[in-house]
């Protein structure tokens, strides 16, 4: 799976978006996240695994606790995807204009 797809899939779930929202306020442990959300601790752990794989969230071990925090890498992936989206569309557009200009006898111009 492409990274951006993992990010999209991760954010497709409301609970995971809530976790991301909570982590925006600062790093938190599984227990702290579970206390703030209407889901069980094991469920939070599962969601965190998905978020971690997508690159949206990273964690570090602090003593006996795992502390989770947001990782900008995930959003960067989405951003890169959107750049590609418009690039692909504009490439097709430029190609169409070139064909049109060739048809009408206009000398195509190199970019």
């Amino acid at each position: 799976m492409e990274t951006y797809e993992a990010v999209l899939e991760a954010l497709g779930d409301r609970t995971r978006r809530q976790i991301v929202h909570r982590l925006r306020a600062g790093p938190a442990s599984v227990g702290e996240l579970a206390a703030a959300l209407p889901v069980s601790r094991p469920a939070v752990s599962q969601h965190l695994t998905v978020l971690r794989r997508s690159g949206l969230v990273s964690y570090e071990e602090l003593g006996t606790r795992n502390v989770y925090r947001l990782d900008p890498a995930g959003l960067s992936e989405l951003r890169a995807w959107l750049d590609c989206f418009w690039e692909a569309a504009l490439d097709r557009y430029a190609q169409r204009v070139r064909e049109d200009s060739a048809d009408s006898g206009t000398q195509p111009r190199h970019e």
């Binding site: 999209l8 497709g12 991301v20 600062g26 947001l70 989206f85 692909a88 169409r96 111009r109």
Partner: protein, 154 residues
């Protein structure tokens, strides 16, 4: 670190095309069906059969699917041929969550135009009684809209 995530800058793209602004503008708008990668960049993907770009403020950009249903991608907010067109952008998502696209056509020589595209509005809050209204950070709606747009138009 969250500071980096709150700022979603506009996407900016440009391309030079071998046509005068008038023709470049026509091809971008009225002839969008002839170049838009509908098979990959649409709501219906393999079921997408048509795409029409209305002419004038208030007109829409609308996709047609094989079953005859339609999907409005956006509404034109500025119509200044052959220099500029701007529209809201919400393929597959509610209009209240629209982002914004502006396209300008600048002549840079005889029969040559540079097309600039700016896709912005990621920071805009959804308005109305949205389910997401309880999120007051402004960031969560942004990334959700980002994800929804990306998930449905790919």
């Amino acid at each position: 670190m969250p500071g980096n995530l709150t700022s979603v800058e506009p996407v900016r793209k440009s391309v030079a095309v071998p046509a005068a602004p008038q023709r470049a503008f026509e091809l971008f708008t009225a002839h969008i069906k002839e170049w838009w990668p509908l098979g990959t960049h649409s709501v219906g993907i393999e079921h997408a059969v048509g795409l029409a770009f209305g002419g004038g403020v208030g007109a829409t950009i609308i996709e047609t699917l094989t079953d005859g249903t339609t999907s409005v991608w956006g509404t034109i907010t500025q119509w200044e041929p052959p220099h500029r067109v701007a529209f809201t952008w919400h393929p597959g998502t509610p209009e209240a969550e629209a982002t914004r696209v502006a396209v300008t056509f600048t002549q840079d020589g005889p029969g040559s135009t540079v097309v600039h595209l700016v896709h912005s509005g990621w920071e805009r809050r959804p308005d109305g009684a949205s389910a997401r209204e309880s999120y007051d950070s402004g960031w969560e709606p942004v990334i959700t809209r980002f994800a929804e747009t990306a998930a449905r138009v790919h």
